[in-house]
Symmetry: C2
Subunit: 361 residues, 2 copies
């Protein structure tokens, strides 16, 4: 059965990328070895990581005064690394509390001794909108942390908040490569790969040179300077994850880059939101201006109906539309690799489900 | 051309594992999704990580009072995590300086505020033997760190040093699953996956329960307690790397487990050492009692000859026998996946090369 995977991550990947990976096994480019067996110090891998960085720079228009670093693990580790590297003047960072991942970033920053001020929160509205800064923030923060797309709550910044002269750090994990931002607006961008850039186990950090300084007392694996100096190869990097990211970046380029990705994500999410807004059974709780293009959250208000819906959808190959365990309801993740057809099928299914429900009541 | 990859890591993998990975693409067990696209919260992945842990426990005879944790990244990160988690009473750890990776572990421990005492070093003998503790170590260390197999220098502990009541922490990266140890002799074992357990980006930590305690002020990604409580899924784990590790563990079991692995590694390394010890051109500098079964280091003493040898070997499909950039010469890594045939071919080649050299001089 053909399936559409609406999971939030690890998520669906481009079919062409999966095919290429298969094609490259067991011998990568006639080397007699698979990519998993190749040394990170080899010419083959230098070419792979070099091209991945070049393509990423091109797609995101990353200015030359920014480093592109390939880290192991996920963004949670960067919630520790960012304050350690950037929080050196005031030991004080600001946060916009837009939900779970922003909160987590604050917790980890406090664990490494930072003062964390929540400048605004949308907790009271159950995170169905983005927090709004009411007054100009003080200058005495090392940076302000935001989550550009809130995977769990289904909100996203289409327009960045005005933070004055403050350095902005953006956790872009779930709309990285899926929505256009100006890298110049950020001091640092962090993004886990398992949404739009391939597989879990790799996180990209894009950081402005002037924010790097010698951190002689930081653990090497958390030190941006060490990663910059060693071109992300202080120790063995996650070779396979970087190879997959390289293939995904080539695919994004071949499809028309970020302009096209954003356009498609807009089309896909519009289709779904439009249906939800006209539905009597379903509600999309997020306010229109703050809706995510990639994670569409919706509810019926009835847990039993939700469960029925989720399992019926699965039986039709529409997988993983269950909302995050923290918020319940449903969520459809429409990352770059989700084709329009998948969303059309989902809307079609939801429509029929709604009709059947009406017939019952 | 059939090749044999003697690289130190990322290293050769079992052919059956590569074939299985290929077979599992693009649809894992009829799910319609590849393993790379499957949620870490899914039943499918729970089964994978659960079975991997079970097989690892069985193969290594890991007692029930030890946790098995799956971490992102390599052992360098554990050089930070181990002192933060275990170095809480004395903030003082002991080290046996057996070479590069032991030294690195000491550096990272100091970076997080530990006092590090080198109890013994074999630096003066250029690390061609293991360091020997001359007197009983003090009790006032949180633990003693050793590198069970020194990938770069080609030494390994066949018998562990007598450390009295001290807790032993072993970096077992390059002979994990390749040589038998009693886990009970260690308080903690750490091992990067990219030698004998699959691909880079995953590190196994085996740690005794009584060494865990609430570390409320540690960053989550470095906190053993957080990983233990969350079954290594506090955040998204490296799904693909864990899946590959699971396949490798199944392969090790099917081949006869660690008894058989060690026997094979003994046979392979004996064959090579025996040739080297009888050669006039080559020398194996490590003393016999301390030789690694998995990383065989050898030299000619002539850089020009070394270079010729390395490139001639490569042209015959005997790849990556160049020594580590820090020590030069040659190194053949004979991990579990290296078949005896590969070593026979290498010895055969070295023999012919030596004859040709003799003809020239």
């Amino acid at each position: 059965m053909e399936v559409y995977n609406f999971g939030a991550g690890p998520a669906t990947m481009p079919k062409q990328v999966i095919q290429q990976i298969r094609k490259d096994l067991p011998s990568y480019q006639g080397s007699g070895m698979s990519i998993m067996e190749i040394s990170h110090r080899s010419k083959i891998f230098e070419e792979i990581i070099g091209t991945a960085e070049k393509d990423l720079r091109e797609l995101l228009k990353i200015p030359n005064n920014y480093q592109v670093l390939f880290f192991q693990g996920g963004c949670t580790q960067q919630f520790t690394a960012a304050p350690l590297n950037l929080g050196k003047k005031y030991h004080r960072i600001a946060l916009l509390d837009s939900g779970h991942w922003a909160t987590r970033a604050g917790i980890e920053a406090r664990l490494v001794g930072m003062d964390v001020d929540v400048l605004a929160s949308s907790k009271e509205s159950n995170y169905t909108k983005l927090p709004i800064i009411k007054k100009k923030p003080a200058d005495t923060y090392d940076y302000l942390h935001i989550t550009t797309n809130n995977t769990i709550e289904g909100t996203a910044y289409s327009k960045l908040p005005d933070v004055g002269k403050l350095t902005l750090v953006g956790d872009m994990s779930s709309n990285f490569l899926g929505q256009q931002y100006n890298i110049n607006d950020f001091g640092e961008v962090m993004a886990g790969a398992q949404k739009n850039l391939g597989i879990a186990g790799l996180t990209i950090v894009i950081v402005r040179n002037d924010l790097l300084s010698n951190n002689e007392n930081l653990p090497s694996m958390l030190d941006y300077q060490v990663f910059a100096k060693n071109k992300s190869m202080f120790n063995t990097p996650p070779v396979f994850a970087i190879y997959v990211a390289g293939l995904v970046l080539k695919w994004v380029k071949s499809q028309g880059g970020l302009v096209e990705m954003e356009k498609r994500n807009q089309t896909k999410s519009n289709l779904l939101y439009d249906f939800l807004d006209h539905s009597e059974l379903f509600t999309a709780p997020v306010i229109k201006s703050d809706r995510s293009l990639t994670n569409v959250v919706f509810i019926t208000g009835n847990q039993k109906v939700d469960q029925d819906l989720i399992s019926q959808a699965a039986s039709k190959g529409l997988l993983n539309i269950k909302g995050h365990r923290l918020v319940g309801g449903m969520r459809a993740s429409l990352y770059n690799s989700m084709p329009l057809t998948g969303v059309e099928r989902l809307v079609d299914f939801l429509e029929k489900f709604e009709k059947n429900q009406r017939g019952r009541s």
